[in-house]
Symmetry: C2
């Protein structure tokens, strides 16, 4: 059976999703938990997340016939996982389903704490920038990110992709109790794209870039004009769309447990 898992994890103690020799990663812990209750298998994740990045919702898939009934699989897996990783649902999928390649859209949210002073309780879950940010300038700049563009200016070097063109469905900036958040939904993301979008919008909020500059730097593919790659601790994967009714319903249920 081809199985999809809906899960979530707090990323501060992990080196991201993807298995890495000598580092604790979510993929490795998930595969190890699956091995304990069934047997060795490869789990495919909806995306790599960098070290320290969080997933308020995540999807993974694997193939094989499990001896554990699907409805008991989340409980069984959780009993072999550390408490900062939680599996919420397991669903049987068509044979051609893959958590990464079947994903139609993702949403990330980047949190910036702008209040002055070090905050021990949020330091691993937001970027601490004790500066005043002009939210309306950020929102105006964000409108230049929406749409279908070549996002070469907003990616870092990583595995090469066939194309740097992506469609950003929305890029919203909103106030939070302790600062600002940037929420981006797209059909796909280039390497470090959200952290670069957040860094570029923060530059707009600081007046270092005008909103129109953001349009220009995308159009002219000027990585050098864009803002910095903000650190991983502010980044959360907050949404996934597969256009598969049962799976999307489970993903939305997982999101609803803790709206970000």
């Amino acid at each position: 059976v081809n199985t999809a898992l809906v899960l979530a994890y707090a990323g501060e103690n992990y080196h991201g999703w993807q298995r890495q020799l000598g580092h604790a990663t979510i993929q490795e812990l998930m595969e190890r938990a699956l091995k304990k209750i069934w047997h060795e298998t490869h789990i495919s994740g909806c995306g790599r997340t960098d070290s320290g990045v969080h997933a308020n919702v995540y999807c993974a898939s694997f193939k094989g016939l499990s001896s554990v009934p699907l409805e008991r699989l989340p409980f069984a897996l959780n009993s072999h996982l550390p408490p900062d990783i939680a599996v919420f649902s397991a669903l049987a999928m068509d044979d051609d389903f893959d958590a990464r390649f079947s994903c139609r859209a993702k949403e990330y949210t980047y949190f910036v704490r702008t209040m002055p002073g070090r905050e021990p309780f949020s330091v691993r879950r937001s970027y601490q920038l004790p500066r005043k940010l002009d939210i309306s300038a950020m929102a105006e700049a964000a409108s230049f990110i929406e749409g279908t563009h070549d996002f070469t200016a907003l990616k870092n070097e990583g595995s090469p992709r066939k194309t740097n063109v992506r469609t950003v469905f929305y890029c919203n900036v909103y106030e939070t109790p302790d600062g600002v958040a940037v929420r981006v939904g797209a059909d796909g993301f280039l390497y470090n794209m959200v952290r670069n979008i957040a860094g570029t919008l923060v530059y707009a909020g600081l007046g270092k870039l005008s909103p129109e500059d953001v349009g220009t730097l995308i159009e002219e593919r000027r990585r050098d004009m864009a803002g910095p790659t903000l650190p991983p601790e502010g980044l959360f994967l907050t949404g996934l769309t597969y256009e598969k009714e049962a799976l999307d319903a489970c993903i939305n249920a997982a999101k609803a447990r803790r709206p970000l």
Copy 2:
């Protein structure tokens, strides 16, 4: 100069306040930071906190003439401390001031998450008990805890104290977005007293004890009748009173940064 520091720390990565061989503790990290900017000294803390317990506000004191001006001391210390420990203020105090012995009252808050399902983002900052709790029964039981009593029934074995009599100024139960919190203010606490109060009130919320039982078990010093010692991750030190105007103002400012 006798100096008081107002600080806060997220406790999940530490073995509490008090120095312990082979374990990371807040006291050790604070003394090490102070040594880096000045010289070796002993720091006195307002109380021991157990491994994994959090301090939304904490007070420590030390004696000695610092070469760093007091107003720059928080910044200087923070630069030598991990980001989940934050020093907010430093004040000159009278010679007889001691963070532990001068403390007139403390407040702790215990958080219980009652929503079903494992929650990766709050698992180290609240006790996960996916059960329905009767909050009004808990509040009624809490009223028996208020006042001056011998709290032998609600302490665990620890360093012996001259007396087990303490005055609880208030013991309130309130709803939170994901469950219930118990807030207790007292002139002092016995070993594990708040975690035992929380466990006893949870028993009342589950119907395992009646509110009146709580009055009886305190009066009759029946530790065996009381509820369990709840785990450390739900416990936060949330308030301190010294009846020293400037210090109390700094403590209240630290509390206001993140009302719990």
